[in-house]
């Protein structure tokens, strides 16, 4: 792997950039692999990378039906934080945040992690109670967390309207200073490049259409580019998890919904932190290119369409202008949707299944971008050892039978 730095760029400039190598190969699929990862999103690519890096496996393929990083990874509002309520969640998201903090150097790719601080606003006494509860839980879990009152919110983000007469006044906020945003595409590309360098075959335009099994054990996959044998399969297909589960004859507690986002035209910096409000459905940050990146609430109905209904966006903008009146004359430049795979308890599944050798990493719903490194790291461990790491053991499928759900609805709202 050619090391990226300002020096290599300068050197390549001398040859008019004609000598840059491919960031990843486009190999033909081999007839068999030790591990096949289905889904070339951030999580799938990270899984492949950590399998190779941490567990020394080399004979790995990532199969992606479209272009790598083109699923939810390409369409999320890029919020990264670890201040989740429950111990199990805090542990796995905090592991992820720690990996984020060294990621650019680890994979030699600038993922533009910007730890500018994430505010979660409280608008009612109930929100305040939940916010304080989460801050306290975070602190005891070793996750950085602060509680700000309304004035503190204003200091941290001066353009927020904290008027007491607002329809949903700002009563305070949780702040995680280590939280922030990262460049979504770069994360997918960086992991792809790093995994490729360790020998992982990333095969795009290769849709898995069947899971082959023998005697309750996986043996490979059918794809639009032919059958491929595999000893183990890790499914990391986000919105399409249920479709692949069906190929293997299993059912998941997952439903797929549209989640929409939008960007404004690029403007000069006005907001240098991330502001989230579950209560009124506003999630805003400003990208390094200048657009306001905003996420909307989830659409209620099941869908695989990567688009939702417009009233959801209009509703969100009304709420947004309550908080940020000065955005009224800023203009929406593009809106889009992704397909989020939601679990009943708003927590993910990283788990083996009743089919031997078949593992699922899904259910990240509206908030899995931040988990990309941690999820890949844990899932790689699980695939390599055929057993979960303690960090992801609580996120098993069996919790739906036992009732040991990890309910992050309360604290998470739409959990970006």
């Amino acid at each position: 792997m050619v090391k990226y730095s300002i020096f290599t760029i300068a050197r390549n400039a001398l040859t008019s950039h004609k000598n840059w190598p491919k960031q990843w190969r486009s190999p033909e699929p081999k007839s068999s692999y030790d591990v096949i990862i289905i889904g070339g999103g951030g999580h799938g690519l990270a899984t492949a990378y950590y399998l190779a890096k941490e567990h020394g496996m080399r004979n790995i393929a990532v199969l992606e039906k479209g272009w790598l990083g083109g699923g939810n990874t390409a369409r999320n509002t890029t919020i990264v934080r670890s201040n989740y309520l429950w111990d199990e969640s805090a542990a796995i998201y905090e592991k992820s945040l720690q990996l984020w903090e060294g990621l650019a150097q680890d994979i030699n790719y600038n993922v533009m992690l910007s730890q500018r601080g994430v505010l979660n606003l409280a608008h009612s006494l109930g929100d305040v109670r939940e916010g304080v509860r989460r801050v306290n839980a975070n602190r005891l879990n070793g996750v950085d967390a602060e509680w700000l009152d309304a004035e503190g919110v204003k200091d941290f983000c001066p353009i927020i309207n904290i008027s007491k007469t607002a329809r949903h006044p700002v009563l305070g906020a949780t702040l995680q200073r280590r939280g922030g945003v990262a460049r979504h595409d770069s994360v997918a590309w960086g992991y792809a490049r790093a995994a490729d360098a360790l020998g992982v075959d990333i095969i795009q335009n290769c849709e898995v259409t069947g899971i082959k099994r023998e005697g309750g054990k996986v043996t490979g996959v059918e794809t639009t580019r032919g059958d491929i044998a595999a000893k183990k399969i890790g499914v990391v297909a986000a919105g399409h998890s249920s479709v692949i589960a069906e190929m293997a004859g299993i059912r998941l507690p997952v439903t797929s919904h549209p989640l929409q986002a939008l960007v404004s035209e690029p403007i000069k910096p006005v907001i240098d932190c991330v502001v989230m409000s579950g209560a009124v459905h506003v999630y805003v940050s400003q990208s390094d290119k200048g657009e306001l990146v905003m996420g909307a609430g989830i659409d209620s109905f099941n869908s695989y369409a990567q688009r939702g209904s417009f009233h959801v966006i209009e509703h969100q903008l009304g709420a947004c202008l309550e908080l940020f009146p000065i955005f009224s004359r800023v203009r929406m430049m593009r809106s889009w949707g992704g397909i989020v795979d939601t679990c009943p308890d708003a927590s993910p599944i990283l788990s083996g299944t009743s089919v031997e050798g078949l593992y699922f990493n899904c259910g990240w719903g509206t908030g899995g971008f931040k988990a990309t490194p941690g999820s890949g790291w844990c899932f790689a461990y699980t695939l390599a050892n055929d057993a979960p790491h303690p960090l992801n053991a609580p996120f098993s499928l069996s919790r739906f039978e036992s009732g040991a759900l990890i309910d992050e609805h309360g604290a998470a709202g739409v959990a970006h």
């Binding site: 960031q23 111990d87 390094d288 309910d407």
Partner: protein, 1005 residues
């Protein structure tokens, strides 16, 4: 000298109405009918801005929505707006505008120094660098990048303007008011359909406004006027100009932004709606959105003065402006020749037509020749010179298939370059509606394939590039749409005679090499002007493994700008197709997404701001609370009095006073917000048995019972009291926030699971205002108001109700209690709420009756250990966790939630259970949300044992109290537990959650 580039006559501007405006601080004059772009060009201003990365000088390229450059900061102060395209701004008196993202000014922009680093700032360079040293990313690199990014500035003040929404249903909606759209509207309108015709421009006519055409007996202007007049006369036809259909959603739902006042001088805007979003549900949609011209990609094709040929024609014909006096035309098609002919006719000078096709012929070519214009067939522009305006072009003969052109160069002086690479139908809305595109080799463009919604396409969008075809196609589309929605179209009018040259010859030419290979040397072949994406960037991306058109977009930022690549996307993918050696359709397009052009947040929010962003619900007693100084708490959509401070009181003072009044005298609470559901039918009791965890069959008529509801997962989700009004009739109350959800849920079970149950549910929440009087003196107050009511313990015991007259109003009085004190909840019709409240206040005056709010209510109930759903519960709490096993029937075979209680985790003994906490120091009030541990001061992560759900200072008890959920708490009474807070750790004892009057003696007063 002003308006040096204005023609002497012609155009659709009103030369009698001069308009003054300011650009970059300098005053100018234009005419009514101008856009800011045309007025600036009339004044010879070409330099409008700087480019994104390299800060190269940039000017106006197009004349409409497709414009990639020329974004300005429009207006000042509270009404300033960033990034508005000069080509889309109708000129008005007093307009001010300035260039964006330049410093100190557009003429001399410091950041142009970036140009020196252009070699380094290739696509994706930021992924490869700024990583060392790690700490510098946040400290230096990112802040610098951020400061450099972005175009204009958001206002810093509140927007004074009004926006709103309209909802419209029509049989036929037509997007695009060019010749095709007008004809479609005519056909549908004459057939009798309800029609909506929208066009983003200031007037209807589309491209006809820019071209000279004889249509039958009329010229183009006359024809447009006649069409519009007929349409305006039809009552069910709505015509909206300045209205952009920006989104085409599922089920023929379209959104249109109407700009109602943006073209008016400030004084004329006052009080009017500025922008309106129309939400349209259409039976059929006719898309007649026309076509955008494509630039050619050649070396240094970005200098101010290099424009699209069709736009030059627009400026000349529509605005009476010569964008330049010496024009070189660079084209690969016949149609562009018209621009040369029109410019020459208007007094400009065409210095050469450079045509990359080796053979040229046809009507327009002949016409150009007849004007003595030099035509250089088989030639290309291989470079341009100039600083803030193009000064000359370098022209070379083409060698077919060559990567560089080595033939001798000829410099041609000019102040305007018109270019045309052909036409791209405006397929945006068609694609948004999920239609697939098909590539047409002959026309060298993507055309709509089979529509996926109830839809027709017409005109240039459909590949009908002649006016004759547009008129016929438009009419047919309108007629078909009308027919499909149940109307009978009138007979088609006879086709008019049209005088139109043949425009059809085109030979695609996606990239024009220069004298050096692409990417070498200093020349740049811009593909996306707004994002400074060059052909070399696309090559580099492919070299680095980015092959999908979607990757190219994201790596090079092509089509990522405010214009969303209207002029660049097709060129980019065609260049990509060349590099990959794949046919264009195989490469495919990126996804078209709303909005077609940017839409202000204000317009999208409409009037749903402030108190309208979410309805405010108030009780009929609300005004009294306001008049008496209540502070309010939002509970769901409701405003509830939180507490009633008196002058000089702190919040705690007020709460102490309110609570003590209830414990020792009498307090009064507005409880109208609780949900109320009338449940009636022979199976009503059986239904409640299935819904609630406890048993209901035996509840006597006239009696009241408390109930808990769980979801199927066994977790508590609502509670309240329910009274039996008759054998077959109950009145259920729910929590304030839960009312709507509970009713939906009841209906769900009745309608989908148990349709055999004969039960009707009706919401009567607002039928009844509820005034709750509580305290030892409550009886005395009620006695005064309802002298005829028997309030004796035997005849009116706890958990029963009575009907009667209170304060002269027919009322129902319930004896229930959330405070532990003797309490009467008086229900009267909503409209009588305030009358009753005032009567109660008057009757209670002698007992010093004290209104109290939700906060005191919370304290009072916590003293009694009563839960609040949503506070003691969070969706993970069972009745057993709350210590409320007593309310869970062991006898009923089934009820909702029962099965889940025995799941292994739900049945665990050490679940978090509701307990009381008494802090060691009575003055320590734990924060609600404090986490609890059994072992203090252990290293993080600390094993947590639970958290504080409610916590107050209790004036009654003279100390703090708290409720908490604690692991295995029910078996830990008397044990110590710790709350590690920031800076201190508070110790408390685990106790029974009932702090006050454990025996319940006070209930009876």
């Amino acid at each position: 000298m002003t308006q040096a580039f204005r023609t002497t006559s012609g155009g659709r501007i009103d030369r009698k109405k001069a308009i003054t405006f300011t650009f970059n601080g300098k005053p100018y004059i234009g005419y009514e009918g101008d856009t800011l772009a045309s007025a600036l060009l009339a004044n010879g201003v070409h330099l409008l801005g700087r480019s994104f990365k390299y800060h190269r000088p940039r000017g106006i390229v197009a004349a409409g929505a497709e414009e990639p450059n020329s974004m300005v900061q429009l207006g000042e102060g509270a009404t300033t707006e960033p990034n508005i395209r000069a080509t889309q701004i109708s000129l008005y008196d007093g307009l001010t505008a300035s260039s964006v993202n330049v410093w100190p000014n557009v003429e001399f922009d410091i950041s142009a120094i970036n140009g020196l680093f252009a070699k380094i700032m290739t696509a994706g360079f930021y992924n490869k660098t700024f990583m060392w040293p790690r700490s510098m990313w946040m400290k230096l690199y990112e802040p610098v990048i951020r400061r450099a990014a972005g175009w204009g500035k958001a206002p810093t003040q509140q927007d004074p303007d009004i926006y709103d929404h309209m909802h419209l249903h029509v049989e036929v909606m037509i997007v695009g008011g060019g010749p095709a759209g007008l004809m479609a509207a005519l056909a549908a309108g004459r057939a009798g359909a309800r029609v909506l015709l929208v066009d983003e421009q200031s007037e209807f006519g589309g491209s006809l406004l820019s071209r000279k055409r004889q249509i039958g007996a009329k010229d183009e202007a006359g024809w447009i006027a006649e069409m519009v007049a007929e349409l305006e006369a039809m009552p069910d036809v709505t015509l909206l100009s300045r209205s952009t259909a920006f989104g085409y959603y599922d089920h023929n739902y379209l959104c249109v932004l109407e700009q109602k006042t943006d073209h008016l001088p400030a004084a004329e805007r006052v009080g009017k709606v500025r922008q309106r979003v129309w939400h349209v549900r259409a039976g059929q949609v006719v898309l007649a959105t026309g076509a955008h011209e494509r630039p050619l990609v050649f070396a240094d094709n970005d200098r101010p003065g290099i424009m699209l040929a069709g736009s030059v024609q627009t400026y000349v014909n529509r605005y009476g402006v010569l964008p330049g006096k010496k024009m070189a035309l660079f084209t690969n098609n016949d149609a562009a020749y018209e621009a040369a002919i029109d410019l020459q006719a208007a007094g400009g000078d065409v210095v050469a037509i450079i045509d990359c096709r080796s053979e040229v012929s046809g009507e327009l070519v002949d016409a150009a020749r007849a004007l003595d214009i030099e035509i250089l067939a088989g030639h290309a522009i291989t470079g341009t010179c100039g600083g803030k305006r193009v000064e000359s072009v370098e022209v070379r003969a083409i060698q077919k298939g060559a990567k560089v052109y080595t033939s001798a160069a000829r410099q041609i002086k000019c102040d305007l370059v018109a270019m045309s690479g052909g036409w791209s139908p405006v397929v945006h809305l068609f694609s948004q509606s999920q239609g697939q595109l098909e590539y047409d080799e002959e026309k060298a463009c993507f055309l709509p394939g089979t529509p996926r919604q109830a839809q027709q396409v017409a005109g240039a969008l459909a590949g009908e590039f002649t006016l004759k075809d547009c008129l016929a196609g438009g009419y047919k589309a309108g007629a078909d749409a009308a027919r499909a929605t149940g109307f009978t179209p009138k007979r088609k009018p006879a086709a008019p005679e049209i005088d139109e040259p043949d425009l059809s010859g085109i030979e695609p030419f996606w990239i024009v090499p220069g004298s050096r290979p692409i990417g070498e040397g200093m020349a740049k072949h811009f593909v996306d002007l707004q994002n400074d994406t060059t052909a070399a960037d696309i090559e580099l991306a492919v070299r680095e493994g980015f092959e999908s058109v979607e990757h190219i977009k994201r790596y090079t930022l092509t089509g990522f700008g405010t214009d969303q690549g209207k002029t660049s996307n097709i060129n980019a993918l065609a260049i990509l197709s060349g590099i990959l050696d794949k046919p264009i359709p195989k490469v495919g397009t990126t996804t078209f997404r709303p909005p077609y052009t940017p839409v202000s947040y204000g317009a999208l929010a409409g009037r749903n701001l402030g108190d309208w962003s979410d309805p405010v619900r108030v009780t009929s007693i609300h005004d009294w609370h306001v008049e008496n100084g209540a502070l309010f708490e939002n509970v769901g959509q409701w405003k509830r009095p939180w507490y009633f401070p008196k002058a000089g009181e702190t919040m705690q003072d007020a709460l102490n006073r309110e609570c003590l009044a209830v414990r020792s005298g009498v307090g009064v609470l507005d409880a109208s917000t609780l949900g109320k559901i009338d449940i009636r039918g022979p199976d009503a009791a059986e239904f409640l048995n299935r819904i609630y965890t406890n048993a209901w069959a035996k509840l006597g008529i006239g009696r009241v019972r408390y109930g808990l509801m769980c979801h199927e997962d066994g977790m508590v989700f609502d509670d309240g009291t329910t009274a039996r009004l008759a054998e077959d009739r109950f009145l259920m109350t729910t929590t304030t926030g839960g009312a709507a959800g509970v009713l939906d849920w009841l209906e769900e079970y009745l309608q989908t699971e148990w349709p055999e149950l004969k039960v009707y549910c009706n919401s009567v929440t607002e039928q009844w205002a509820t005034v709750s009087i509580a305290g030892p003196k409550a009886g005395a107050v009620l006695k005064k108001l309802a002298p005829d009511m028997d309030l004796s313990q035997e005849n009116f015991p706890f958990l029963s109700f009575k009907e009667g007259v209170v304060a002269g109003i027919d009322a129902r009085v319930f004896r229930i209690s959330f405070t532990g004190e003797l309490t009467y909840e008086i229900n009267v019709p909503w409209t009588c709420g305030r009358v009753l409240w005032e009567a109660v206040m008057e009757a209670g005056a002698e007992f010093d009756i004290t209104p109290y709010g939700t906060e005191s209510m919370h304290i009072l109930r916590a003293e009694k250990g009563f839960i609040i759903v949503g506070q003691e519960t969070d969706g993970t709490t069972t009745p057993q966790d709350l210590g409320m096993d007593w309310i869970v029937s062991k006898k009923k075979p089934d009820f909702i939630g029962k099965r889940s209680f025995t799941r292994s985790d739900t049945a665990r003994a050490d679940r978090k259970q509701l307990v009381g906490l008494l802090t060691d120091k009575p003055d320590d009030v734990l924060p609600e949300g404090a986490q609890l541990v059994f072992i203090p001061h252990s290293p993080k992560p600390m094993p947590m044992a639970g958290h504080v759900t409610s916590s107050y200072y209790s004036a009654t008890l003279g100390r703090s109290i708290a409720l908490a959920l604690v692991k295995g708490g029910h078996d830990r009474m008397g044990q110590k537990i710790f709350a590690p807070l920031e800076g201190k750790t508070v110790t408390a004892e685990i106790v029974d959650p009932v702090f006050y009057d454990k025996e319940g003696e006070r209930l009876n007063g």
